[in-house]
Symmetry: C2
Subunit: 251 residues, 2 copies
């Protein structure tokens, strides 16, 4: 099953932050048996978000996860961009509005903000694409959204890492089924990658695995990750590589 | 001027590494006056690389920078993907082959590898898209490539951060002209972003700037970055926001 990740934020495109969210999401999806085929980052611009989501939908992945752009400011436009890509309107989610009210009342009671009342900017966060299921945000104000569209499960998550991680684990993963994928990380005792190339090619032809190799400088080892749908297939691929002369050490 | 970044690597798509290369590249391009409009990550797959480059070219940015997939192994397919997207063949770069030979001879003389001779995998790195200018790699074996295509400057860089950074600074930036862009990082004394939304909107309507805001939890401050083509315009925008009641502290 294929997946795509879309992260949204000018702060990524200007190099002001490193997008570690997509790596976290990619890791969790990979463990669940999804091949993440593409990660796209666009800015806080409704047209750009719409285009990125529309293009991803056209590639028909099983899952799309977006992260970022759900807050109250002018540049938080992800819900609108997603709605447009799906061809639906934004609609007030009453239950979300109640939660948002509650959230600001709580912050106010703790003395963290001056004003507990809803304003236009806070209210905006309660609008989700029509037909979406709200995803609970236990760490912040803005709810996420889940929409199924033409065979693709679309999850819209916040960008703050704490909020995104909590929502991914609690609200997204349980909706992705129970299949798992095996990754085996090894070190090959070899001084350079070029010696490994024909062996990797032969292994990939024989087994249902994917293999990633990365040189560890020009030292003694090359890092290898074998991915497969079962321990058995991964082990068969490893044993074959060994029979071709590769010496492995567990990482 | 718009720019796009394409990073290539299964290790990013599986969440095994965080793609910090794109943030580094984005930061340098932003300083040079480019708006990075999109960052795309695809896997070590020639079809995926071709598609990502072709789609980026269709959006007609001034610059495309790719990073990753230039090494000697089976999954290093970026040069071929770029060549296909450009509609040209790969061609042996004799000067690159000499450098690669020299590189492995040097590693061998230092006792870092067993075998100094060229093999098929090492030789592969000397093939660049027809018409490309090779970019010198002072930190590794694989050369980069520079191709102008229909108004877009395409730079193909390695994925190892040390090699990529050195090549970006020495070989790419000098080809991008001398325009610079101003970023001003500030802290606004405000307890939540929603209060800021109408002020940001008014500022963006009046001045030629872009503004990014990010909450620092629900503490006292909101981080603000104002981007513009001159110090003067950024300063005017800052002063206007102050006149609207925002209190700034320099970060």
């Amino acid at each position: 099953m294929l997946a795509e990740i879309i992260t949204i934020g000018d702060e990524i495109l200007t190099g002001n932050i490193v997008d570690s969210n997509s790596a976290f999401i990619a890791g969790r999806l990979t463990e669940r048996g999804y091949w993440v085929r593409r990660i796209t980052t666009v800015g806080d611009d409704v047209g750009e978000v719409e285009k990125a989501v529309r293009e991803a939908l056209q590639r028909k992945p099983g899952v799309i996860v977006t992260s970022g752009g759900l807050g109250p400011t002018h540049d938080d436009v992800t819900m609108l961009g997603v709605a447009r890509a799906l061809g639906v309107e934004l609609k007030l989610c009453e239950e979300c509005l109640e939660r948002i009210k509650e959230f600001y009342r709580l912050l106010h009671s703790k003395g963290l903000i001056d004003d507990p009342e809803l304003n236009e900017a806070r209210r905006k966060m309660a609008y989700l694409p029509e037909g979406a299921t709200p995803l609970e945000n236990r760490e912040g104000a803005a709810p996420g959204a889940f929409i199924e569209h033409d065979g693709t499960k679309v999850f819209v998550l916040p960008g703050m890492p704490r909020e995104m991680k909590s929502m991914l684990v609690r609200e997204v993963l349980p909706r992705l089924g129970t299949k798992t994928f095996v990754q085996r990380k090894l070190l090959a005792e070899m001084t350079d990658e070029s010696k490994l190339a024909p062996i990797l090619r032969a292994t990939l032809e024989r087994f249902r695995v994917r293999i990633h190799s990365s040189p560890k400088g020009f030292g003694k080892y090359i890092g290898i990750i074998i991915f497969g749908e079962s321990e058995e297939e991964v082990e068969r691929a490893r044993a074959f590589m060994e029979s071709m002369g590769v010496r492995f050490t567990e990482r």
